[in-house]
């Protein structure tokens, strides 16, 4: 049973407070949806939690241990992995090699790492692309590959930053069922997504950010009716109309 607890997380870029005193937690076997309009600070939260940016305040505990402002590799080694909003893979290496880099974290020998990597590729349905150079993969394939790379590190917490953006409805369906399988296997997931049809059905809880501030948290059904959320997305006019 693992748990990630975030308290009062704050990140400033000069005068801009991109993340303002945000607290939340996520446990094994749970999908936390993270939504909010463009520039709300979702990616910045991920960057702070995974060590890619140094936060300016707050605390982050993973299984009772502080990972606040630790290095990305140390955080990954403890079991927290993430994908990038702008897909990032090792372009010049084959898909299998990309995943093996992740697998080496827990398997130092090449044969074992390769085995683990093939499993992870299988998991995301990418086995047949194993030998293709990452640069030649299509965007949806790269996104799957990125997830496989994370899975190969055997994470307990997985953060997906708009992994389903730009996918077709069938692909979204496949991705959703994979995410649910991971949750059922006991992983904790934080999923950032703009596609409401994709995130709402699978999230156990949803948290909403707007201008760096957490404005709401609750069950998906509550969130879609929350006037603050509607106004953040569509403006006050619509919020009033929903209330009536």
């Amino acid at each position: 049973m693992s748990e990630l607890v975030v308290k009062g997380l704050t990140k400033k870029f000069g005068g801009l407070i991109a993340v303002n005193d945000v607290s939340f937690s996520v446990k094994s076997g749970e999908i936390l949806g993270l939504i909010g309009p463009n520039g709300a600070g979702k990616t910045t939260v991920f960057n702070c939690l995974t060590g890619f940016l140094k936060a300016d305040g707050g605390s982050v505990e993973f299984n009772g241990r502080s990972i606040y402002n630790c290095s990305p590799n140390a955080i990954c080694a403890l079991g927290v992995a993430r994908t990038f909003q702008v897909v990032q893979v090792l372009q010049g290496m084959s898909a299998l090699e990309n995943v093996m880099v992740g697998a080496y974290l827990r398997h130092s020998r090449t044969a074992a790492s390769r085995r683990r990597a093939l499993e992870a590729l299988e998991r995301v349905g990418m086995s047949r692309f194993a030998d293709m150079r990452a640069v030649n993969l299509t965007l949806p394939a790269k996104k799957r590959l990125e997830v496989a790379m994370c899975l190969a590190t055997d994470p307990q917490v997985l953060m997906l930053d708009e992994s389903m953006a730009g996918l077709t409805p069938t692909e979204i369906h496949d991705a959703s069922s994979m995410i649910c399988e991971l949750r059922d296997a006991g992983m904790a997931l934080i999923v950032v997504e703009h596609v409401m049809e994709a995130i709402m059905p699978i999230a156990d809880r949803v948290m909403v950010l707007d201008s760096g501030i957490k404005i709401a948290e609750g069950l998906p059904a509550e969130i879609v009716r929350d006037p603050r959320v509607v106004s953040a997305y569509l403006g006050d006019k619509y919020a009033k109309r929903v209330k009536c």
Partner: protein
């Protein structure tokens, strides 16, 4: 996988045999000198390859490590009578240690800034040695003549023993790289080269692995410094820390194709004879025509084949294969 390994082993053996056969045709001292330079720069190119071709840190200051290695063993030998073989080991260790310390701030520099930093490092060390009286300042040190033989690492009658020594060093380096390429280390180096952020997000300690790459590269380069010191029997800042050494090392690797094992060997086998021959025919007049021809050659290569000879070979191989497949398909249709 298995077949690949056997093929690679066969290639290495064939390579070693070819290497051992060369001296039959190389009977003059000059041709032997060219052979020595080919193996020396092949090793240097491979060392550069570890750091730049695999781990993505392009260095144009390898002369710093090279000269340091040359001085370490020479000082030990001249001042304390230490065997050059032990000196070579010390040179490797000392340069690796030096590189680790220097590498700490350097590993934070990315891309071209790293390259510029290494150029500055090469120049700085040269100035230090030019002004350091204890190691002979600008005049350097002469290594006292000893009876020739492998014990003293000095050969006066023929240059071939130097060639064999260099060849052994090259084979060791290639064996190391072969293992590295198939290990966690090799994968981590490449991951850092491709995308540092992705690598560290997957648990790669990028600073540690960059330092390992720099240290290994510098250590091998330092040992090559000892090799050249024993070959010329003197060390001098202008000679051992010369910027052209740094440039030649990078060129040999890039020309042959970096990021794979065979590239720098090919690069050295082609460029070093050209460089030595143009120097012999046109050089020493001080006009630098040799360098101009050499430079033009490199420019052409960079423009038309930026992936080096290995890239060229791969492309030709792929097009032959495609052609054969096309012909095969046509034959199927006809019958």
């Amino acid at each position: 996988m298995q077949r690949d390994d056997i093929r690679n082993l066969a290639m290495l053996v064939a390579f070693a045999i070819i290497g051992l056969l060369f001296p039959i045709v190389a009977t003059t001292r000059f041709s032997q000198h060219i052979l020595v330079m080919v193996v020396l720069y092949a090793v240097l190119g491979e060392a550069w390859n570890i750091m730049a071709g695999y781990a993505g840190m392009v260095s144009i200051g390898q002369a710093a490590f090279f000269g340091l290695g040359a001085y370490v063993s020479s000082v030990l030998s001249v001042k304390y009578g230490v065997s050059p073989w032990l000196g070579m080991l010390c040179a490797g260790l000392a340069t690796a240690a030096f590189a680790t310390v220097i590498g700490l701030p350097f590993s934070r520099l990315r891309g071209r800034y790293f390259a510029i930093g290494t150029i500055a490092l090469g120049q700085m060390i040269k100035v230090v040695f030019e002004n350091w009286q204890w190691v002979g300042a600008a005049t350097g040190l002469m290594i006292p003549l000893a009876n020739q033989g492998f014990a003293s690492f000095q050969f006066h009658a023929s240059k071939l023993p130097y060639y064999y020594t260099g060849l052994a060093l090259l084979l060791l380096t290639l064996a190391f790289m072969y293992i590295m390429e198939r290990s966690k280390m090799g994968y981590y180096f490449k991951a850092i080269r491709e995308n540092e952020d992705v690598a560290s997000g997957l648990g790669v300690n990028r600073t540690a692995y960059k330092l390992i790459a720099i240290a290994v590269s510098a250590g091998i380069t330092g040992m090559c410094g000892t090799f050249l010191a024993q070959y010329s029997l003197y060390v001098e800042p202008e000679y051992m820390f010369n910027h052209s050494i740094s440039v030649t090392i990078a060129l040999v690797a890039v020309f042959g194709g970096s990021g794979n094992i065979i590239g720098p060997v090919l690069g050295s086998a082609i460029l070093m004879p050209i460089s030595e021959l143009t120097r012999a025919w046109l050089g020493s007049s001080g006009t630098g025509i040799d360098l101009m021809i050499y430079g033009a050659f490199i420019v052409l290569m960079c423009v038309y084949e930026p992936e080096g000879l290995v890239g060229m070979a791969r492309r030709i191989g792929a097009s032959i294969k495609a052609q054969r497949e096309r012909r095969g398909a046509a034959r199927c249709q006809n019958s």
